[in-house]
Amino acid sequence: MAAWPKEPRLIGTKVPRLDGLAKASGKAKYPSDVRPEGTLFGVVLYSPHANATVKSIDTAAAEKMPGVKGIVVIAGQGKKLRFQGDDIAIVAAETEEQARDAVRAIKVDYEVLPHCVTESQSMDEKAPQVFDGGNVRKARAIVKGKPEEALEKADVVVEGTYSLPVITHVCLEPHGLTAQAEGSSKITAWASTQAVTVVAGELAGSFNISPADVTVLTEVMGGGFGSKFGADIWGRTAAELSKKCGGRPVKVFLDRAQEHLAAGNRPSATGHVKLGASKDGKLVAMIAETYGTGGVRGGSNFPLPYVYDLKNSSRAHAEVSVNAGGARAMRAPGHPQGCAIMEAALDDLAAKLGMDPVEIRVKNLAEVDNVRGGRQGETINRTPMYEAQLKLGAELIGWRDKYKPRGENGKGVVKRGLGVALHQWGGGGAADKQVSCTINPDGSVEIKSATQDIGTGARTILAMITAEVLGLKPTDIKSNIGNSTFPPGQSSGGSTTTPSMSPPCLAAATQARAAFFNKIAPALSTDAETLSLKDGQVWVNGEPTMSWKDACRKLGMASISETGKFADGLSSVGVGGCQFAEVEVDTETGVVRVKKIVAIQDSGLIIDKLTWESQVYGGVIGGLNYGLFEERVMDPTTGVMLNPDMELYKLAGASDIPEIIVRAYETEEMKNRGVIGVGEPPTIATAAAIANAVANAIGVRVPDWPMSPRNVLNALASKEGKA
């Protein structure tokens, strides 16, 4: 049965990523950097209106503009445009400047219709309909136990409304691809994607050809966070334009504004929550009515109750449609919202009870919270894991010495506060993915799979596993991914890449090693069973005997190539973690500065500790942005986004980054579970922990994220108003 090595040489160490130097020296070629001979530049014309119908569209003048080689209309006469940023047409021209000029020469006559771009606009009874059938789709409440009854009997009840805004992915490399069509039968595309195979399938579908005739290349790519799984209309149109332009490559990448408008977002969340507990802090019931908007696409639901054990709960969610770009999965979809609302309510309850926030959390973990263990059928109780994580985190943030009850944080204008939040995530691996491993007579080793590295370190991880098995250095392995024609690989979403790809990689390397031993054993006058690999040497009966390279020469002309498949017992699903935040709030200006964050995360067996830590740092910083800065601002009157940029759409810079302490919760029990992904879980709890720390510091809940001076000062003002 397949198993991870008991005493690994590489696995669990810190290995710098294989493509790191290429990226850091500007030599790595991203899809948006690729410009094959003869490339035309495509520019998208998109809707300036939140809601409109195309009455007519005339491209005649644009076609005659200098340099223009082709125009494809996406939204022709009669087509509805449901949000600002909805695609209308794409122009391909010799230069980008010419393509932009031509886009402006396309004459579109719009019937501009009334819109609603905010939840409150949309929920108004007289609101124009985003879709037929109403703007608000209220799901029936999911009820567990007898929440109303239990709440009445609760010793303490808090009631609050908490809200989080829509935020956007802001992938630094825009969505898009460069497509080159060979007639109608073949397409090559350099795509910025999280899923080369999905893009290949989509392009094949639009050309009505086999995915095997499409080659999607993603050597490296500049961020996706859940928004880059498909070719999208832009990519399909680029391929169409290439065909139309005699096979000249056509490059279409969105501009920054359209990135915000049309390329996905994390839905908003508002929750009206009643939470009750007994005097000892044990939760008895929760009643939550929530809503959110995923624009024209929906998907705003989120888990609530979250993490904690509630015997009685009622949760009703309403999906609100607005005339804004559709939501897409974004780094742990739904969880950051559910976590923020749950943890805020729980903290408010703790404050009302005068209870320590860590204590109330421990008290309300389920007695048994099973997740999968190492193998099918095995389970692990997550509750003691959470307890251990909370203990470690509390130590690292200095909880015992620094924690003061809410509002008791000194007399100065700048108050310090501490906050904590827990999170959980699934992850897990797909069982149908493959990796091939080839050992060549010149000693080179290549692994191949149609997965991709979106910045997580997937390329390096696969090389480490292979090198571990073959006794080589990770840099000896050519880790060849980002090509849709390779053996089927996992899409990079849901923290599933590493757990899906590591098992077949281990299998491929292990099979290749076995085949290699069989091949070279005769040349070494021994049996395959006596052979092992270490430090770039072939060992016979525990003695280094021949260099790897020399041994590979014994293969003669034939390479060894093995394809590995998924096996149970090497990866698992279901993680938890906790985060602590320490903040300083200037109560005169409402400015919040995060001083320190502690993130404790379990994720099974960690392959590359360096890239693992980076993922956790990155998750925390993503959560810090959500907690402090980010917000899509829509204008109710004109229906447009007011901050489709990277300036008034605020994101942390270096001076906004606190001290961050990351710890893996990596016991032997955890390691035995095998590989679990970590891209998403560490971004979930940060915004919640920060908001709780702010409330702790200033003595009042700031119910609206982000923790901006405006929201903090408004909360402080309402507190004074009440006093």
């Binding site: 007011l642 008034l648 001076s655 906004d656």
Partner: protein, 328 residues
């Protein structure tokens, strides 16, 4: 960005000649104009690049004060020892502007003459953002907009951080045009536009801002900026003060507010409140309160009233070395 003609003169005289045709824009650092051109908010037919004119770049100090060429970058201003020593209000305001790259590119003239960052203006709704006679700002998201002079249609805020201390310090701007040179107080570079056809800047077509001269001073001066992010961000409120001390008391004061009105705003109420008083928390707080007496916030920006109060208080106390908020 629309196509344009381009010229890069190396002398001011040539620049003036090149600036003559209508629809000509002067380009220096580019961090504002090029963005506006990309968004088709401004589409000049000719762009005259002023950064090849060495004569505009110099910063010279003398017994009369310091003369800062309009083409001097913010980075050059920050490296000038005399400015840091004598005009900490100006130095600090420049220090907090934007990013290292922008400070390397952007010029003092460009900072003073940049156009408002109002997101309605930048989205192509015109400077006053009026639609069907209604103000998009008043009806819409005005969290970053004016809290003073809000009875009118100009609800954007003046974006120049340098104008605020320069006005407090009594600086004058020199403008060269086809009709010769004129010198005006920095405050007079700005006006509240009366209608959609009027700009908020008083520099006329064909004119070039060549320098600002900050008079020599013994005034204690300081700036305080309240902002959301620590890294690259815009002030939510900014105050600069220059105080001529009379012993332990404030003799005469200049208090100027930024980011809260369509022009950099002198607060005579705050000045009166502090003049003749010893500078302490109580008097500084009173001056801050006085500064916002006439504030009329819009639907979403009442918080800026508080920020303005605090900015005035903190600028005043900073001028005498009290930075209490940094002590926690």
């Amino acid at each position: 960005m629309k196509a344009f003609d381009y010229a890069a003169p190396t002398s001011v005289a040539d620049a003036l000649k090149l600036m003559e045709p209508p629809h000509t824009a002067a380009l220096s650092g580019g961090t504002d104009l090029i963005n506006r051109m990309k968004d088709y908010v401004s589409s000049p037919e000719r762009v005259v690049y002023l950064k090849d004119i060495d004569a505009l770049e110099s910063i010279e100090s003398s017994s009369k004060g310091v003369s800062i060429g309009a083409g001097a970058t913010l980075a050059a201003l920050l490296e000038h020892g005399e400015i840091k020593k004598t005009y900490p209000s100006l130095w600090k305001a420049a220090y907090e502007v934007a990013t290292p790259q922008i400070r390397n590119m952007a010029t003092v003239g460009g900072n003073l003459l940049q156009r408002p960052r109002c997101w309605y203006y930048r989205a192509g709704n015109g400077l006053l953002a009026l639609k069907d006679g209604k103000s998009l700002v008043r009806e819409g998201d005005n969290r970053f907009h004016a809290i003073f002079m809000t009875d009118g249609d100009a609800l954007f805020v003046n974006p120049s951080s340098l104008a605020v201390p320069l006005i407090a310090l009594g600086a004058k701007a020199t403008i060269l045009g086809p009709k010769g040179e004129r010198t005006v107080p920095v405050a007079e570079l700005y006006r509240v536009p009366k209608g959609s056809q009027e700009r908020e800047l008083t520099v006329q077509h064909g004119e070039i801002l060549t320098k600002v001269v900050v008079p020599a001073t013994h005034a204690k001066n300081a700036s305080y900026e309240a902002r959301h992010k620590q890294a690259h961000d815009w002030p939510l409120a900014l105050a600069s003060v220059a105080l001529e001390m009379d012993g332990q008391k404030v003799g005469s004061a200049r208090v100027v507010l930024g980011a809260v009105a369509p022009v950099p705003l002198r607060s005579e109420a705050a000045e009166k409140a502090i003049e003749g008083k010893a500078l302490n928390h109580e008097s500084a707080t009173a001056a801050g309160d006085a500064a916002v007496k006439d504030a009329k916030p819009l639907s979403m920006n009442a918080y800026k009233v508080q920020l303005t109060k605090v900015a005035v208080k903190r600028a005043l106390l900073a001028a005498v070395g009290d930075r209490y908020w940094e002590e926690g």
